[in-house]
Amino acid sequence: MNRVMAYCDRWTVAPGETVRFMVSCLGGTSYTAQILRLKQPDAGPQATPFAPEPVDAPCNGPHDGRFQAIPIGSFAVVPAHPALAPAGSFTLAAHVFPTTPAKGRQAIMGTWCEVSQTGYALEIDGQGRLAFRIGAGPGRVAVATAAPLSTRRWYHAAASYDAEAGAIILHQSPCSDHDFHPEAPATATAPAGFAPGAGGPLAFAAHSAGPAAGPSPWGGLAFAGHFNGRIDSPRLCAGVADAAARALLATDPLNAALAASLIAAWDFSRDIPTETITDIGPRRLHGSIVNLPTRAMRGHNWTGRETNWTRAPREYGAIHFHDDDLVDACWAPDFAFTVPEGQRSGVYAARVTADGFDFWVPFFVRPPRGAATSKVAFLASTATYTVYLNNRGRFLSLLTERYQGRVMVLDEIDSLLIEFPEMGLSTYDRHSDGSGVSYSSRHRPLQNFRPTGRHWNFNLDLFIVDWLEKLGGDYDVITEEDLHTEGLALLEPYSVVLTGSHPEYDSLAMLDAFEAYLRRGGRLMYMGGNGFYWRIAHHPAREGVIEVRRAEGGVRAWDTEPGEAFHSFTGEYGGLWRRNARAPQRLAGVGFISQGFDHCSYYRRTVDAADPRVAWMFAGVEDELIGDFGILQGGAAGLEIDAVDPRLGTPPHALVVARSENHSNTYELVAEEVLIPHGATDAVINPDIHADLTFFETPGGGAVFSTGSIAYAGSLAWNGFDNNLFRLTTNVLERFKSPMPFPLPK
């Protein structure tokens, strides 16, 4: 059976611009492509029938295809240079912190080429021991080994080739870590009656595997032997370093006494936000990181006196490499679509199909740059989509069912992610060594960014699109990627901006743009739950790559390690916006209070609903209960829900016009609200857990309407759009479109 995977090079495209698609066939040599406009999710018999609208495009139709591998695993590399292949004796040294020493052979540093069996390599051998290998071609390989390495401990490793003695020498020195681990330094030697051959480029955390048969992450080469763990202050010098010289090699800053012998000294504490590794040695043999290993990591010399890497970069000279890091699948493009001038703004996708197996590659067509074609903008939550991409962990344990309260449901595309781990991870996952995933990229095939499958994020947001289509389709689509880049200018032309169902992740630029928009009379319909929760950082050079540091509080799949709460991309403190004094309640009136995934509930009108300030909202809405129906687990209030909290910034004039109730045991109070565990934390007993349908005016004549529930959008289309929640939400949209200002209440 042939199956197919694909991704595209950009998510946001304007008329006249081109989006390129990369495709891989899994078991076949052909596929078909079709460009479609998406108007609703594929949500079963209770929803609007799934009917993507075909778009005429030259790329539609059959294509030849082939398999394209994904070169997963991070490393750093320095282009080959004669100085990196010393003619005589030499020593290489580094601080090393292995996190999976027992997983098998792993490269740490060297020019080793596995195909030609040439070069030199400091590495971990198949028995978890530090090893030094040199080779001059097949049959001429020498290896020395020392004691097995412990997991997650720093060592200083030094390896020498002694040309005069015809030997290789390896030293392993454990570093003190304020504990009483009984490790002693170790030394090993072995004869080596030949000099190492030229090898490949000098690489850290992987070695060259010769020319790549498929996509290459760097220089047309394949790389293997990926290392899990940290490397700090790697250095290379001429000669055999004796104990005194090794001590100098281990010092920081670089000791001037090394000047006569030093070949290179890479200082990973420099240029942390970039993909450059900087050589502070005499030849300036700079290199680059590949597949985005984690930077701004505590080094071997971290003291704890400073937790912000920007103020003590020398203590953050480690890079943490992982064998499952991935920033770009590096596939060759297969076809392209140039958006015709005049093409309406909307949510689109390329559907690629092989043997009846569909794979979806969504993208967003914005209006022509600098123009708006509607008063209404739907802001696609591309930051949140990116952070969640390929969330593998949710499938791999019964833990998911434990907190969701339902048997897990998945489909064939989800299975593809399980079958092909090289599709990479989400920031909800842990790496293979147990460390949290800080970076996510959209430059790879994506399992959970599609109009089918689990209703979450993109797929769930299509319920909002479905509603806007029902109202006549008068809306533009803009994206958070562009909001981060363009700020207020992107929002300013619109009377109303609608978020997606779960706009959870924001950069400072995004929050500032929202605030400025609202202060100028803009109107925000926050159409979801758990929004504006985590701070993110965008990669300074790569579009579609986002960093999350899960610091301090919050509902989270992992937490940052000590001293690593500041983003490497920007130097900003990560974690909850609440911890950055920008709690979601300040912007939207409500903020995350609870989550549960077994059953959704309803809202009950409050006395605030009778306030004349919101009379327009309830025109034609007489019911006491609102949203006691829905495609998503039977109600409009659920999945992740938000409540008002004046302590955190809900404005005093905010009206909670309806409040949810009757949530289940799986709805637990968020962790940041439980400072002392007390047991009364689920919705059955804790009265703080509810979704608040909230409205308030802003000083410039604008207003905010917040649903406070991810499930809300799933009720809009209920009963053929004939329901109270549809009427209420449509009333809000119509009033928000009106130029008539909202006066602030006295």
Binding site: G44, F395, S397, E401, R406, V407, I418, V684
Partner: protein
């Protein structure tokens, strides 16, 4: 410490009536016990047609293998939940639940 008690058929009946939503404390404890992550395979549902038809499958924790389908097909998620509950009860009790 909460422990499984195969005489607590009231909990099975409660689950059958209300697989999702508010549960009694003891049923919630039982479900947490049944859903405790461990090394043994666990059940999932594979969507055949969204909102209409699902096939029961098993997965190995941490596996790189896709779910393995069983021959149990459901057109109602409540029935699927109840079926999985019965399987788990039987594993804990060493015997089938005495009612459907």
């Amino acid at each position: 410490m909460f422990q499984f008690d195969k005489t607590r058929l009231d909990l099975a009946r409660e689950f059958r009536a209300t697989p999702w939503g508010e549960h009694s404390p003891d049923l919630q404890y039982l479900l947490s016990l049944m859903r405790r992550p461990g090394p043994e395979p666990y059940h999932v549902l594979i969507t055949d047609r969204p909102g209409e038809r699902w096939t029961l499958a098993t997965m190995q924790p941490g596996s790189k293998s896709p779910p393995r389908r069983t021959n149990m097909v459901f057109t109602d998620l409540r029935a699927a939940e109840w079926h999985v509950f019965r399987l788990r009860w039987a594993r804990l009790a060493g015997e089938e639940l005495p009612f459907e």
